[in-house]
């Protein structure tokens, strides 16, 4: 069904981004919180439009933009993620002297990129979305202009990102050369016609996968992750951890999942990605053990989690993947939000040592943070447990048992570094003076919502799973 409604959510977000950027440029107010409120208003309007399009399968631009249920569900996730990130960022910006009202505008632009990526079935449109996302991400990473680490992370991200984009677009060119079209389905049918003969097409597909593998930090294209996560302002890091990752995996799933059903399962793409998944989980959990900086540690944690998500892609298990992404949204933002809570004027506490004794000094914060860490480590009854459980069960059904064994072992290893933080919080005497700015209602609201989400998804996932199954049904 055609309809302008398909374009509306995107238009709202892009329009909001422009309005907010210009407002920030013209009204030179010191307090930028009004921008957050305005953005939130637009996000809610957009969410309403998304809800109304549910089950309608709207499309626009002759099918280039397609709001199927998956796109809508993910758009909804992204809206929640961006709203959360804005909330946890509000106080942070003033505390850490981040000058930007750009924060809100750029986040909205990145959001539009995410939405474009997930609501198209055409490679070139997806690429367009990816670039919109990337360019805004580079700027977001360097938002703390005066801070060397932030600038470093922005430059590194930019350099590596352009590097990856170059390969991605080269891959697109090769794909176009073989299939004479960049529709995902057209590429698939050209492979269907002659799989073995299409060496160039295979290279093209491989390069495209690499382009996305960079964005979702699969080994060995993950090297930027720790540096960028460490240097970027923490709310932005939280966004990087959940937003681009979710979009990247959704797109990767859209591209690859049909191939597994085609009897290419013995195909090489599968084998290579199998290895990549194993490597990603191993590297993510092993190097994570060595990290003393919590932000870097979370970077490796996010790499390891990318490995688990890749298992779901390999198993062709869309519902589990989306459930994992949903849970990851809440626990990721919750964990980073707890990190932000542990900061004061001009000072962030991100060393492991800083966490000694925090559990007793700030019992509520310690307890909430512990729940997120337990969820990341995959303990029941949190959402993290169920997410991993569903992914592993789905993978075992598809005979990926050895990969699941690696997955279980690596989650054991990574459980160690999550639990270490809890041990520091509750079993170490504090060595450094840590006092925090407690007056931060927006942040605590988000923490509370994330806590609710993690527990709701861990204990009563029924309703959400029902919606997710509907969304995943639109994949095939």
């Amino acid at each position: 069904m055609n309809g302008f409604g398909a374009l509306a959510p995107l238009l709202i977000i892009v329009g909001a981004a422009l309005v907010i950027l210009l407002l920030d440029a013209f009204l030179k107010k010191d307090n930028k919180n009004y921008l957050a409120c305005l953005s939130l208003f637009f996000l809610v309007v957009c969410a309403v439009f998304c809800l109304r399009s549910w089950n309608k399968n709207l499309s626009y631009f002759e099918g280039q933009l397609r709001l199927d249920n998956l796109a809508l569900f993910l758009a909804f996730l992204f809206l929640i993620a961006v709203a959360f990130v804005m909330f946890i960022g509000m106080k942070y910006l003033t505390l850490q002297n981040v000058p930007g009202g750009e924060f809100y505008g750029l986040l909205l632009l990145a959001l539009s990129g995410l939405m474009i990526m997930t609501s198209s079935l055409n490679f070139i449109v997806i690429f367009l979305g990816l670039e919109v996302l990337s360019v805004s991400s580079y700027a977001l990473a360097g938002l703390k202009g005066k801070d060397e680490k932030s600038s470093e992370s922005a430059i590194k991200y930019f350099l590596m990102g352009s590097f990856a984009s170059a390969f991605l677009i080269f891959g697109l060119a090769l794909l176009f050369g073989t299939a004479h079209s960049l529709e995902i389905s057209a590429v698939l049918s050209s492979f269907r016609a002659n799989f073995e003969g299409q060496l160039l097409g295979l290279v093209g597909l491989g390069l495209v996968i690499i382009g996305f593998a960079f964005k979702i930090s699969l080994v060995p294209f993950h090297m930027w992750t720790p540096d960028v996560y460490e240097g970027a302002p923490t709310p932005v890091t939280a966004f990087f951890a959940v937003g681009p990752k979710a979009a990247g995996f959704a797109v990767l799933f859209r591209i690859l999942a049909p191939y597994w059903n085609e009897g290419f399962k013995s195909g090489r793409i599968f084998d290579v990605l199998w290895t990549v998944a194993a490597l990603t989980m191993l590297i993510g959990s092993l190097i994570g053990l060595r990290q003393k900086n919590i932000k870097r540690l979370f970077a490796y944690s996010s790499i390891a989690n990318a490995g688990y998500m890749l298992i779901a892609v390999l198993a062709g298990d869309g519902a589990s993947l989306i459930f994992f992404l949903t849970v990851y949204l809440f626990m990721g933002i919750g964990a980073f939000g707890s990190l932000i809570a542990l900061s004061k004027k001009d000072r962030e506490y991100t060393d492991l040592e800083d966490f000694a004794g925090v559990g007793f000094k700030y019992p509520w914060l310690g307890a909430i943070f512990s729940v997120f860490l337990l969820s990341l480590a995959g303990f029941p009854p949190t959402g993290g447990f169920l997410a991993k459980f569903y992914v592993f069960v789905g993978a075992v059904r598809q005979d990926l048992t050895s990969l699941v064994i690696i997955g279980v072992l690596t989650s054991l290893i990574s459980a160690f570094y999550y639990l270490r933080i809890i041990v520091y919080m509750y079993m170490r005497e504090p060595e450094r003076d840590v006092d925090i700015e407690i007056e931060n209602p927006a942040l605590f609201l988000v923490l509370f919502l994330c806590l609710y989400g993690v527990l709701q998804l861990g204990i009563f996932p029924g309703n959400v799973l029902y919606v997710i199954r509907q969304a995943a049904a639109s994949l095939f």
């Binding site: 390969f167 590297i283 053990l289």
Partner: protein, 633 residues
């Protein structure tokens, strides 16, 4: 008929949540108002739904309200769903009604405690869990409530956790219950495996259409009964209940007399179809119940702690309820549960009032002659004692008689005799308690006597209400000799509990049985009167005459010591040995070595993370070359 009944458990839950989150900032007066109010609203809802139920014909089947589907693994589904039928209606009314009175009483009893808010939060939480237990429409949700009440019981027994004995008692209750729960979980698992669902309706259907073989049904029934033994403190898992008296007295009244401990009886009655079908389990339950009834009653004879007497009495009365279930008189078992809830919580609360008056004294050897000081507590205590002793025209008489008559009718004469023996002892130890506490010479601590005072109205009024019900509650289930229609209670339960083929007892036999019950009760009272008022020398003489037996009973048959010697100490020494030889060397060695190996790899790998973009790009490129290379060759 509205479906509003699903709200019943959530009102106390909401109140508990508020108290846990914001309790510290709320004024005490508001806390008591909210906690009691929540339970009262719940009670109102339960009563409303109950009257709705009275007006609907039983053909409708039970009302089921599924809030959401909770677990869906493969073919197995468990909904978060509640069921309202006569059985759960009675249980909900007892829980909220008696619970409400106990909440009110607690306002007075706990008024000086510094953990006031925490106490009410936990009490509300307990009410929620108990209501989930009795309203659940499947075994899995019931298990949630089952564990929930266990947890709250642990929290409330150990409420004064500064006292080591209280903390220890909480642990003991928790651990002993775990043993029973192991059986309970296994039972549920077997049930789910064979029936494919844990909904009560599905279980009944499976029994009906032969999906469940008799052997398997027996296995499941026994496993579930083990769980019931743990929760309802039956032999041999009764050891936790007397220790649980470390908690505040209203807690003992609510949890360890009226509600939680009866969960096992409720569960057996709820699954009566399964138990009837299995056939062989019934006599086992009856025997366990009868032995517990006698065994616990003997221990109650010699206790000196007023609350412990009542604790053993509770165990003994629970034994009667299981006799009822075991001989197929499920309705009579539930009937006894219902009357027991009134008179036993009355006794506990009245004992609490005595303890309160004596500034915490619990030892009956330092009481006596309190009759004139406690003009409110004494009469209600007497009502409770008379009711439990089985004196005619009070509630306990009807329910106990219903059970024993049925046992006789089923030709379970051994059970019947044991039941009678228990009844004599019940009457004896209750009046021993009355005489030691309220009559005779004052043996009070002079310090306590200075502060001696009757409890405030907020405590005595609930006592009076409970006393009223202890007298009258029995009249809804009159014995069959007064006409078939007399048993309103049993007929109300008929949709849930099918009345078994009536054991044909002649009118004469029934009258005879009733007469025996009366005689037995009066005999017990008479002996107590002789021993403790007329000739106080006799008990001492008996003790001197049979020192071994006295010592055996006084030390609770050494059950705790046997458990210590047979299970706990070997476990401790064994685990120490394992810790020293296996854990430290093998496990820790492996873990440490593998941890250092893992750490070593992590170190090697982290050298790759140089921080230089050119290296990153190089690795990226290498990755591409390998990736594409593998794709092509």
């Amino acid at each position: 008929m509205t479906e509003i009944f699903w709200l019943i458990p959530f009102v106390p839950a909401a109140s508990a949540l508020v108290l846990i989150l914001f309790g510290r900032r709320l004024p005490k007066r508001y806390v008591s108002f909210q906690a009691c109010g929540a339970v009262f609203v719940s009670f109102g809802l339960a009563a409303f739904s109950f009257f709705g139920l009275l007006n609907t014909s039983p053909e409708h089947g039970p009302l089921i309200k599924t809030l959401f589907s909770w677990i869906g693994v493969g073919a197995f589904k468990a909904g978060f769903s509640f069921q309202f039928d006569p059985l759960s209606a009675i249980m909900a009314l007892v829980v909220t009604g008696v619970g409400f009175l106990i909440h009110i009483y607690s306002v007075g009893y706990m008024s000086q405690d510094k953990g006031y808010t925490r106490y009410f939060a936990h009490l509300n939480l307990f009410t929620f869990a108990m209501l989930v237990l009795v309203l659940a429409s499947n075994m899995v949700l019931m298990f949630v409530g089952w564990e929930g009440v266990g947890l709250c019981s642990y929290l409330l027994i150990g409420f004064w956790f500064e006292k080591p004995s209280a903390a220890k008692a909480g642990m003991k209750a928790f651990i002993v219950n775990r043993i029973g729960d192991a059986g309970f979980i296994l039972g549920i698992l077997f049930l789910v495996m064979t029936v494919g669902s844990s909904e009560f309706s599905a279980i009944a259907a499976a029994v009906g259409n032969g999906l469940l073989s008799q052997g398997l049904a027996t296995l499941i029934a026994i496993l579930l009964f083990i769980g019931a033994c743990g929760k309802s403190a039956q032999l041999p898992l009764h050891v936790w209940l007397p220790d649980a008296m470390e908690g505040p007295t209203p807690v003992s009244a609510l949890i360890h007399a009226a509600t939680m401990v009866t969960a096992g009886v409720y569960m057996v009655a709820r699954l009566n179809v399964l138990y009837t079908f299995s056939g062989t389990v019934g006599p086992i339950i009856a025997l366990v119940g009868a032995l517990t009834a006698v065994f616990a009653a003997t221990m109650a004879l010699v206790q000196n702690d007023i609350k412990r007497v009542l604790a053993y009495s509770t165990i003994s009365q629970l034994g009667y309820m299981f006799i009822g279930c075991g001989v197929g008189a499920y309705a009579a078992g539930i009937f006894h549960l219902y009357t027991h809830a009134f008179f036993k919580s009355l006794l506990f609360l009245a004992a609490g009032s005595v303890i309160h008056a004596l500034s915490g004294e619990q030892d009956m050897r330092r009481m006596g002659g309190l009759k004139k000081y406690l003009p409110w507590t004494y009469p209600v205590f007497l009502v409770g004692a008379v009711a439990i002793a089985g004196v005619p025209f009070l509630s306990g008489f009807f329910s106990k008689d219903a059970i024993l008559t049925r046992a006789f009718g089923q030709r379970q004469y051994v059970i019947w005799v044991l039941g009678l023996a228990g009844a004599v002892m019940t009457a004896f130890y209750m009046f021993r308690l009355i005489f030691l506490t309220f009559y005779g010479v004052e043996r009070l601590d002079p310090e306590a006597k200075k502060h001696l005072h009757e409890s405030p109205k907020v405590m005595t009024v609930p006592l009076a209400i409970l006393a009223f019900f202890s007298i009258t509650a029995g009249y809804v289930g009159l014995p069959a000799v007064l006409g078939k229609k007399a048993d309103v209670f049993g007929r109300f339960l008929e949709p849930v509990i099918k009345p078994a083929a009536e054991g044909h007892l002649g009118l004469g036999t029934e009258w005879f049985l009733i007469l025996i019950s009366v005689v037995v009760a009066l005999l017990g009272i008479f002996i107590a009167h002789t021993f403790y008022l007329k000739k106080p020398g006799i008990p001492h003489g008996l003790v001197a005459r049979f020192p071994r037996i006295y010592k055996l009973i006084y030390n609770k048959y050494y059950v705790d010591e046997i458990y210590d010697g047979a299970v706990i100490n070997p476990l401790i020494t064994g685990s120490e040995w394992i810790y020293a030889h296996f854990d430290l060397k093998v496990v820790d060695g492996t873990v440490n070595n593998s941890a250092s190996a893992v750490g070593f790899f992590g170190k090697i790998l982290s050298y790759l993370q140089t921080g230089l973009v050119k290296d990153y790009a190089l690795i990226f490129l290498l990755g591409i070359v390998i990736f594409i290379g593998v794709l092509l060759f």
